[in-house]
Structures are given as C-alpha cells and as structure tokens.
C-alpha cells in the first residue's frame, strides 16, 4: 500500500462558499424526527404542485419502443419540442423562430446558462426583493452579485418607479431579473410596469431576464397570460425563462427553455448547451406531448389554484396579527406573522408543538431577501395541496402562533 504525505489545505471556490445550502434542508432532520415520533406535518413550505401530470406525458414516453437506444438529443433541443414551444408562443401572440428557443434541463438550467453567458465577476443584477432564493446561486455561479430592489408587503410588493430603479444602476449593472407572476409574492406586473422595465433596460443597455414559469397562473381575469415577450423593441435585451414544471404540473420532467432573439446570447447559451450535450430525451418527448394537451387544462388548473388561494386567504384572515397581500398569481404568498422570528418559530413548531398530533411547515422569510434583517418575521406559504389540507394547515399555523407567543 502506498503511503502519501500529508495533504495541503484544499480550496473550495469563493463563489461556492458564497452560496447557501437550501434553507429548507435545514429543517429536514427536524421534520424527519417529528414524523418518527408520529407527528403528521402539513406542508406549506414546498412549491411542488400536487395536480396530476397530464397522462399525455406518460403516454408519449410509453410509445417509445423498448428495444432501441436512448440516444443524445440535439443540444439545442428536439425539433418536435422546439416546434411545440413555438406554437404555444404563437398562441399567446409571440412570434418566435426555432433559433430563439433553447431547450434546457428545467428553467433552472436556463437561468444558470443565462447567468454564465452574460455576467462577469462583479457584474450586478437588479432583482426585486423578496426573490426566489436559488437566483442567488445562479448569479453567484457566474461571479455576479444581486442588487436587491426592495419591495414592501404593505404595498403589495409593487416594484419601485423608474427613477428609483435607475438610481440603482451602476457601471457594473448587467441585468434586471424579475419573476412574473412573482415567487414568493404572487405579484403580477401590470402592462405599465412591464413597459417601464423595458424602457429602463433599453435606455441603459441592460438585459431583462423575465422568469415567467408561473405565467398561466393569474387569478384576475384581466391579467390574461402576461409576458414580456410581446413588448416591442426588446430583441437585444430580453431573455425569457420558461418551463413545463408548473404549467403542466411536471416539475420532475426537468424541461424548460431560454428564449431570446439576441443572436449573441443565443450563441453563448448554445455553447453551454453543447458542452452538456443534451436534455433528457424521453422527457423532451413527453414535454412535446404536453403542449398538445387540451388548453382547458390551464383553465382548470388556474381555477383550482384560485380556490386554494381563497382557502388560504380566508384562513389567514382568522389569525390575529397576520398581514399579507392577496396574491394575484403563482402559488405563493408572503405573510408577516406576529412572531419574533419565523425561523425560530418553525423550529419550535417541529420540536415543541402539536395539535391532535399535527404540526405545520412553511418557508421562513429571511432567505428570500439579500438585505440583512429583512424577512425575519415573514413566511412564504405555498398553496399546492388540497383545500381541506390547506384549511387545516392554516388552522395549525394560527394555533401555533398563539401557543408560541403564550410560551413565555
């Protein structure tokens, strides 16, 4: 057996060190321990829709003969899926050519490759806060940093006006990244707000990254199916992030896309697509079939989530001291709870609380903010389970708050 001399210190990259492990993971051991003690946990903490994936997904995959080779797909995506995405966009008034669509392993990979394509070390990305925490990792992977644009729950998490936004722009600002409808806020941008963002992006030569994976989930009939992709003159600036995950309740398929008409960005993203070879072949076949399912699916899913939102809203109104804005879209709301610290409160709910053998989980708010100290009393609540489960979950939250605050 060879003997090696002692190791020197091994280094982890600065960027990886700056990223955070999932804040949800932190509570996983406590949740497991609670369940082992027989506690039932009601989950308001995860964004995994429980609606069934349309059977077209499974059926298309089952039709693939089982005696062939599961071969690499083309790096930019399979032509049948690109064609399906193109048709879908035509249906919402957006004219795309196949080169504008790069199929990715979920919206996540589209975001990562976009960041790697347009950010240099030190580049700044303006992101409305609170935001989806994984944005921080994708931006940091490219060496970029988030410049949070603060929004306030009392004000429905509406974005800052043009002047305030422009004051944030420096020589290092490379992009504005928005989620519309918003995660974790459920805020849906108005046409005027989208237009303002577009004007600022154009005027300052910034990329506008619009993460629209919740696009089909707007609960105000006036909102329609909002997208930046219909705005004129944004060919060079706009990168739309899309995914089948939420739209078709197919999160585990890991099929998304980056959409841009900027040929240099197309080429840069394509370089990363080519290096990683391809997106899973069977999932692309299934995803293409999803786009051919009856569009009434969207209406049904929207109606179901709207019902769930209303259940959560009604429940939260019964809890003294809880403040929130009714979400206009997506599956989430960000609520201010009358507790000192939602992180501590969550831990307490898993270790010291139970009502009829049941407790509840949410996502503590601080990781949704870059600004130190913000979100400490907030919780993201996802409404992706059945109305009776949601109802009980909110009752448990109320009982928990009362017991937590009565404890001293």
């Amino acid at each position: 057996m060879p003997v090696y001399p002692a190791n020197k210190m091994m280094k982890i990259s600065v960027n990886a060190n700056c990223c955070e492990l999932s804040p949800i993971r932190k509570f996983h051991p406590l949740a497991v321990a609670a369940e082992q003690q027989g506690l039932r946990i009601f989950h308001l903490n995860i964004g995994q829709p429980d609606l069934p994936t349309p059977s077209a997904f499974y059926d298309a995959i089952r039709q693939v003969p089982n005696d062939g080779t599961v071969a690499y797909a083309p790096s930019p995506g399979m032509p049948e899926l690109i064609g399906a995405v193109e048709r879908y966009y035509r249906g919402i008034g957006v004219d795309l050519s196949p080169a504008d669509i790069l199929i990715t392993t979920g919206g996540s990979e589209a975001l990562l490759f976009t960041c790697l394509s347009i950010l240099d070390p030190g580049s700044e990305v303006i992101v409305p806060e609170p935001y989806y925490p994984n944005y921080a990792t994708f931006i940091r992977a490219a060496g970029g940093v988030i410049r949070p644009m603060q929004t306030q729950g009392e004000n429905g998490f509406r974005y800052a006006g043009r002047e305030e936004l422009e004051r944030m722009i420096t020589s290092k600002t490379r992009a504005i990244l928005v989620t519309n409808p918003g995660n974790p806020t459920g805020t849906v941008l108005t046409q005027g707000e989208m237009d303002m963002l577009a004007r600022v992006a154009k005027a300052h030569g910034l990329y506008l990254i619009s993460d629209e994976v919740y696009r089909e989930f707007c609960y105000d009939p006036q909102a329609g199916v909002p997208t930046m992709a219909t705005l004129p003159g944004l060919e060079e600036n706009l990168i739309v992030i899309d995914s089948v995950s939420k739209r078709f309740s197919a999160c585990g398929a890991r099929v998304g896309c980056a959409i841009t008409k900027n040929p240099l960005v197309q080429e840069a993203i394509l370089k990363f697509c080519q290096a990683r070879l391809s997106v899973a072949t069977l999932d692309q076949i299934g995803a293409a079939a999803l786009y051919d399912t009856d569009p009434s699916l969207f209406r049904q899913a929207r109606a179901e989530y709207c019902r769930r939102r209303d259940v959560v809203v009604q429940g939260l109104r019964q809890i003294p001291g809880v403040r929130f804005t009714i979400p206009q879209g997506a599956f989430y709301l960000m609520a201010a709870l009358p507790v000192d610290d939602t992180d501590k409160f969550q831990q307490w709910l898993l270790t010291e609380f139970a009502d009829q053998g049941q407790t509840v989980m949410f996502a503590p708010g601080a990781p949704f903010y870059a600004t130190e100290g913000r979100g400490v009393q907030e919780a993201r609540i996802a409404f992706v389970s059945s109305p009776p489960e949601l109802e009980r979950a909110i009752v448990l939250l109320g009982l928990g708050i009362a017991a937590y605050n009565a404890r001293r």
Copy 2:
C-alpha cells in the same frame, strides 16, 4: 406602441466568449447539404453508441402509473439510484456511503458543478492533451484555464512522469483532470501511473478529477475495471465523474454522478444541485433499474466494442501513411492522417468527394488540443457503429486520403 431609445452595447461574459461552439457543429450544414444531394455519410465522428439500451430502463419507466404527478426528486438524487450506484461500486471494491454520491444530469453536469465548486477565476487545471473538448467549457465556466500536459501519439499518449508533471504546478494549480480510459486516445492508465497522479495530488494539495465514464470498456483482460476510487488516502483529493451514458448505452437518459469523500466538496456541489432542484425523475427510476441488469451485459458490450476496434485497426493498417496507437479502452482512437489539415480534409470530403455515392466523417483533431498547432493532422475516430459500417467507413477514409492528396 411604446418607442424605446437606441440600445447600448450589450455584453456577453468573457468566459462565454472564451468558450467555443462545438467543432462538430461546423460541419453540420455541409453534411446536411451532402445528404440532400443523395450522398450517404458514414459516421466516425460521434461518440453515440448504437447498442440498444437494456429494456430494463424502459420497463421501469413504464411501470410508473400514468395518473400521478411527475414530482421533483430529492436534489442529491433518488435514494434507490444512490443505493444502486453504491452497490455497483462495492462490486468493484469501492466502499461508499450515500453522502459520497451526488446524482447529476449526466457526467456533464457533474463536471460543471465540480468546476464551479473548486475553481476560482484564474485557477489552473492540468489536463493531459489531447482531451475531451467540452472540458474547456466546464473549466472556463468557472473562470479557470487548462494547462495542457502534452502527450504524444508516437508514445501511445502515455502521461508525463512525475517530475515533468510537477514542473507544471504553479500557485494557481487547483486540480488535475484525467479521463481513464481516455477520450479521444483510448489510453488506459496503469496502476503505477494512477498511483503517481495520486502522489502528486496529495503532495501538492490538488484535486484529482477522474472522469471514468468509459471504465467498463478496457480491452486488455489485465486492465480489469480501472478506477482511482480504490487508491488509499485520496479522500480529500479525489472526485470521480461517472455516468450511465456509455456503460449502459443510455446517453439520452442524462444520468451521472459526482463521487467524493471530501465533505467540503460534497457540500459545495450539493449547493448547485439544490439550486437546480433535481435530476429528471423518470430517468433516475430507469437508471436505477439499469444497475440491476445482468452484469454479463458489460462483457458482451466490451466484446462487441473490442471487435469493432479490431475492424478499425485492421482497416487503418491498410491505409499508407496513417499512424495510430491501438486503443486499450473507450470507443476512440486518435490517428495521424497523411494530409495537410484534417479540418480542410473533412470539408473536402463533404463537398468534393464521393465513392459510390458515399463519404465519411471524423472529428478533426485540433479542438482536442489547447496547444496552438497541435492535432492539425489528426482525426478522432469513434467506433460506435456496426463492423460492416466501420469497415466501409475506413475504406472510404483511405480512398478519400488518396484522392485528396492526388488532387493538386
């Protein structure tokens, strides 16, 4: 319609600009045009095995009920797949715990996340040259640079000795990255060579990234199933890249893994795994089933590729002036052709050559080298089609070389 002012210049990241589009893509339009003119192209240019994927993959996926939700899998991978990988490694004498295995979207994602986890801008990675061209993109995505360790075809592409290797190490060197068996060379490292690399990595505090996706494809019975993972004392240094793509002829499943016992590297890679949420669920179910297929599959596949290698070797020996080393593993060999420039020769083969309405494609050698001017007369030849097709492809190559050189 709003009118926006003119755009400022939009920037692409320095790292993306440093990456290359796939060199193979360059010939794609020419190949399409040739086929449209009725030419049949024999492919020696791609690494897509044509052996069927074991039906266990399809069958496991078909058993998933078609009325449920295709949900996110756990970020580090599904327990059943991690367990299957663990059992496979136990079978080749490597003791792993589940935390040592991070399931990724192919070996490609494992490489990208490894680079993002351990490289800072300017970090150097020593890579034996010629190498798999996509390494350049993964390393560059993290801001790192390749320091090529030159190997020579005349010498069977054997690695440099310890002293020469150590002379390449600078304060910026962070890792040594090897492919074993080698792509594009087919070179299989001896136990002594692996041991030398391990000693150097230990002595200088370097990561040793061992891409072992071709591990099962060694044609010398003495070689066995080579892996760095059995070397002692490398817990902090070693990161093994693995994949089901070649092993089970399932490239389009996009299931691989990064394996390391270094807890800091595990945590860093896990951060990126969590940010991208999960690997495709159905593919993980299929991949887990692949690991339970009859191990005689490996023997059969190895025998088939060995037969193909021999067909290619015999054919190439008939072509005057072609020089190559018989590959000991993987599906490739790097041949020096008696032409001025294999890139020009490939272009000519697609536009000006045909024999009985047929022509041939290979991968020109220069993109496999970082050193300017190397590989210009070389071609990577992949033996992943049937023996009669390979035989004809090599005959076409010989006829092409003769006609190309007779042309002036």
